[in-house]
Amino acid sequence: MSVIPGVVAINTFREAVRDRVLYNLIFFALMMIGAAILVGQISIGIERMVIINLGLSAISIFGIIMAIFIGVGLVYKEMEKRTLYSLLSKPIRRWEFLVGKFAGLLLTLVVNTALMTLGLGAALYFVSRKFERGDATILVAVYFILLELALVTALALFFSCFTSPMLSTLYTLGIYVAGVFAPGILSVSQFTSNWELGAITRFIYYVLPNFHNFGVIAAAAHGDAVPFTLIWHNTLYALLYVILILVASAAVFSGRNLK
């Protein structure tokens, strides 16, 4: 098996660190410290819930912003700086370059998310001085956020293969928002008596990446268990969808005239 994607991934990760991408952790840490101190003063009985909701939402939002804004420049930046030409003159296949870029950004996001999760754990411990059995769901929620980020990264990479960062951002964000509201699209098909509209909305529902699948923050805040089948199905879903997008990206990028 080729080691090239791994090498590209490590370099992408290093580049992100050099670009001070992980500085957002400082902001996250300040926010969690502030919240942990303030929440005890302004709320009664829901301190833990506020910290979990705030922490997980921040992990998700920070991650998505990073995935989109770095993801859309992954290929474009290399072309702009003309570093892609020297890279592809070496025995590197284009799909290997893409997979490496994807894996590199995902690694960055995993490290970033892991550090933020530690921060969330610390804030939670500061507020309640103990961990509960139900807190395991927080880890499931973080895992689901990572799956979500993998999908967003793949989408951003796909668009960056053929359009400008500005448009890639818009497209990725648009699909993400539509994917979050996917159940609303399906409910149109259940509600309408128009057969054609019903069929179209059902089709859109199944074709769109369904980001609503990964929303278990409320369950984590309430300490409700997430069924194992859902964890397994969501993992498989994200994996298949990422492969799908990467295959499409490779097809688009392989035909791209780089001159």
Partner: protein
């Protein structure tokens, strides 16, 4: 890589994508169905409305409140539409959704008019909150005093749902003062004041609702009520014949056929769904048990005698 080699690689990548992408989409769709089944219990009937304050939403909408109102109105319609067909459904979020919609856009007439119909429908097809419906329409009148149709809706709510014929007549009369109001508003005011509790008057009001809208959902509701009232009127006529039979023969008829044989009724004796009326105990005519028509609580055969 040479130009030829690159072309070959591109062709291979495209071919792979053509086969793999649809197959992966199909797999993802199949998996999504499984995930929907997994999450069905988690999300089932979790009526959540994060922001209940229309005033706050108005501030947060950054000047786009009419658009946000449209979104909330669409949500309200979907919310009601999905539940209206489900037995045992609850409607807790219907009023907050309508409240937010009309706060965001106080001129959105459709939200007052249809919202009132949705709110006032009795269970199982609605929450049966006629009092809230009246509040909604009154709010609409305060914001849109020139809309005579809202007075029609207010009269409708008072007469059909709250059985307050005095207030209903007042509402119709107030609306009729608007120069744009239809002439029949005055007729309705007089008729409701005189014979508000009669089935014929209720039918007239529902026919008015049916003809004043093109919305399918409201029309369907109106047709259900008209059919129900027609069935009640049919039973009322049969009941009169049954009482006449008793006066003639000293006993109640055992069947509709006996009424027919006595020459007291004629023609087709079916309810609007096509099911023949049947004779119940003590000569009280009833709907066929298989008939889909549901009589309202005050239209039952027992109420007729």
């Amino acid at each position: 890589m040479s130009k030829r080699g690159q072309n070959k690689s591109h062709t291979r990548a495209v071919l792979l994508a053509l086969v793999a992408v649809p197959a992966l989409f199909a797999l993802c769709a199949g998996l999504q169905m499984r995930i929907d089944a997994d999450t069905f219990a988690m999300y089932q009937d979790k009526d959540e409305l994060l922001l209940r304050s229309g005033a706050l939403l108005k501030k947060l909408s950054l000047g786009y409140e009419p658009l946000l109102a449209d979104v909330y109105w669409t949500r309200a319609v979907q919310y009601y539409g999905v539940r209206a067909r489900k037995p045992g459904a609850t409607y807790e979020q219907l009023w907050p959704l309508l409240d937010i919609t009309t706060t965001l856009d106080p001129k959105l007439m459709i939200a007052y008019r249809f919202g009132a119909v949705f709110l006032s429908e009795r269970p199982p097809t609605g929450p049966g909150k006629a009092d809230l419906a009246v509040e909604l329409v009154k709010r609409g009148i305060a914001e849109n005093p020139d809309e005579w149709r809202l007075y029609e809706d207010l009269g409708f709510l008072y007469s059909i749902h709250l059985k307050d014929y005095k207030k209903a007549a007042e509402a119709y009369l107030e609306g009729s003062k608007n120069p744009n109001a239809q002439i029949w508003m005055k007729v309705m005011a007089a008729r409701v004041a005189e014979t508000g509790n009669e089935l014929e008057t209720s039918r007239l009001i529902w026919v008015g609702v049916y003809s004043s809208t093109k919305d399918e959902m409201v029309r369907r509701t109106a047709v259900q009520h008209i059919n129900s009232l027609d069935a009640a009127l049919g039973l009322k006529r049969l009941n009169k014949s049954s009482e006449e039979y008793w006066r003639k023969f000293g006993r109640f008829p055992a069947s509709i056929q006996e009424l027919r044989d006595a020459g007291l009724v004629g023609g087709t004796l079916e309810d609007p769904a096509g099911f023949p009326y049947v004779m119940g105990p003590n000569g009280v005519p009833q709907l066929d048990p298989h008939s889909p028509i549901v009589l309202e609580s005050d239209q039952g055969a027992g109420e007729l005698r």
